[in-house]
Symmetry: C2
Subunit: 391 residues, 2 copies
């Protein structure tokens, strides 16, 4: 049910002809209230798509009434005309919703786009698609919306959690450019909990920092990444301190895990945990250095527990960022400690890498903090999809 699992939301997903396949490509999520609290986090890329520029403005007053999302075109690197296209889309959504008896201002309509860069959106197809989506809005429309935002995803990603009388649910797409500070990832999360804007914002930032921000499929950062949280207050409940935060983090973690599991061309999902670091930031920096190593990722594709590539990637992190003794590193791959004190440990032939999930633990022996970053292996299919698919 994803974005329509919580009370106070309607959604739709329709086919407007943006995708050449005829699949659904326009999604709409509407908050019917009574509250219209929202928070958002966006790509940290300086080169941003028009809808990101627009939606950041929409979020400035912490209110979003509707989100329109399209696949089949990123509307990035499209200049002033591209921004006008986004603006026109928001105005069209507001007008169509007004026509359906909903009081919505264009300035409260967030816009998300995903697909090819450097190509204008076909507005003559997108705007009629918006009309169809408004006509199709339904409290059961979540799954259609989740389908409509897919690009190279093979399955829709949805997750739901909640507490006593309130619910949080979300949908996400993205299988290619997952990276730090998010990825070509669009995600909309809704809740019927009653939240202050400050609480919504803090909860979303904390949840994304430990989940989406720690998925680094291929080190590339998109121009379009957007994660939105909409709260309707329809449950009338203000969750206890920490309860909503935990449920939101759970939804984000499951959606992020789903993105890793569906990453383009991947054959292994790899969790790199750096343990006993001096700080969480140090642990994350070392984990990220490993998840960005093409040599390491190619080795895992070959079912090779090549710990030399793990410690040499760790060694590229400057000491001022992550203090540790480079001669004291232990590496465990799927439970087998193949490297001990930066030297040969247990027999690497004992490591079973035949499953999809791989667990790497690098012990720095430097402190008490730890962090996990997820990535994928580097495969022939990754090269194929990303040399053939122009995005």
């Amino acid at each position: 049910m994803s974005v329509t699992a919580a009370q106070g939301f309607e959604a739709a997903g329709v086919a407007a002809g943006l995708k050449s396949t005829g699949a659904r490509d326009v999604a709409l999520v509407v908050n019917i209230g009574p509250e219209k609290v929202a928070a958002g986090v966006f790509t940290s890329n300086r080169v941003v798509a028009a809808p990101v520029t627009w939606s950041r403005q929409v979020l400035a007053d912490s209110r979003v009434d509707a989100v329109v999302l399209n696949s089949g075109g990123a509307n990035a690197a499209t200049g002033a005309e591209g921004f006008l296209d986004t603006h026109r889309t928001a105005e069209h959504v507001a007008a169509a919703l007004q026509g359906a008896g909903r009081e919505v201002s264009p300035g409260d309509v967030a816009v998300c786009s995903t697909g090819l860069i450097g190509v204008r959106l076909p507005m003559d197809r997108l705007l009629p698609g918006v009309d169809d989506a408004v006509a199709g809005l339904s409290p059961a429309g979540g799954p259609d919306a989740a389908l409509a935002i897919m690009t190279t995803d093979t399955v829709p990603k949805e997750a739901v959690a909640g507490g006593e009388g309130w619910t949080v649910g979300g949908m996400a797409k993205g299988a290619g450019m997952l990276a730090p500070g998010l990825a070509t990832m669009l995600c909309v999360i809704t809740t019927d909990a009653s939240l202050s804007p400050e609480r919504a914002d803090a909860a979303l930032r904390a949840a994304t920092r430990a989940t989406f921000d720690r998925v680094d499929s291929d080190g590339c950062m998109s121009t379009n990444d957007t994660v939105l949280l909409l709260a309707s207050g329809a449950s009338g409940i203000v969750p206890e301190d920490g309860a909503f935060e935990a449920a939101l983090a759970d939804v984000c973690a499951r959606l992020a895990r789903g993105l890793v599991a569906d990453a383009e061309g991947a054959s292994h999902d790899i969790a790199v945990t750096v343990a006993h670091a001096t700080t969480e930031e140090a642990a994350e920096a070392v984990a990220r250095a490993i998840t960005r190593s093409n040599l390491f990722k190619a080795a895992i594709f070959g079912n090779d527990p090549n710990w030399g590539r793990i410690i040499s990637a760790a060694g590229t992190v400057p000491e001022e960022i992550a203090p540790f003794d480079p001669t004291a590193l232990d590496v465990t791959v799927n439970g087998i400690q193949v490297c001990r004190a930066s030297g040969v440990g247990e027999d690497r032939d004992l490591v079973d890498l035949s499953g999809r999930e791989v667990r790497i633990v690098l012990d720095l022996h430097a402190g008490e903090a730890e962090a996990t970053v997820w990535t994928n292996d580097l495969t022939h299919d990754y090269v194929h999809e990303n040399s053939a698919y122009s995005s």
Copy 2:
């Protein structure tokens, strides 16, 4: 002639059985003087192989009498025993040279190793190989030495330059882990110019910074990278200010270009030039962000001039490092300006990517500085070689 092009040097390259193929795998370069000035630069990885630790000590007094290099084993992540193996190798070289009438101290013998990580060297084969190399030393031994340091290289890399009465020549190996702060790259350069230790050091640092340091084949940094410069003074000439520096930079540039041209599994060599940056450091940071983008590199493999991936990689560089207007970027691919003001430019179908060499120019319109970083495309063969080859 490479390392024996200059007067005052002898070299050899022999097969000691470290490589299963029976190919040459032990090289020796001896400075017969009259001067024994040396300089070196090493990997900036904190996880370093035993021979790097050893050779850094040898270089402390700016004197190197001989360099022994082996392929077939990196002697990295081999602990205290690995360091003793390196020490023993240096002592064996010194003793064998003494047996041949040369006064050489073990503390003046640099050691370089390349090959698998986490495996001890077979000393019972390496040391007899050293004896053979000493017996085979010759003023014409440079080409054999260049062959003996190859690993996955398909061709030896040699280059020679010089001025009036003096010569500089070098050999290099490395085709896999080329990266910032060098790569599994071993390089020995010799000259018969008469150089002070300070001049040798400054010239080598300046030359490597603009050449080897700007080759970033796959973003991975080795534990073994070493570049050594040995000066014999045998020409009796002190080159004019700038003349030696220019010749050394030329040799380094040609060797670095040779490494790119022979990178594992590559089908394109890509020069990414960032122009009109505020500083050279800013230009280099942006160029490096692009050369590290797997999506960009996979696109070039597919002969796809995907400029969206170029500007989105540029946008990941923080503004405090590289100030520029993200809406004002121009991108030229092999002479065709496919992106203008961060939007669509000339027809991308005009771009011819059928050749091996690709020239990307990103114009930041922010200043007067520029830098070029070389990389390779991301190919099926890269994935294959690095999932099958355990290094």
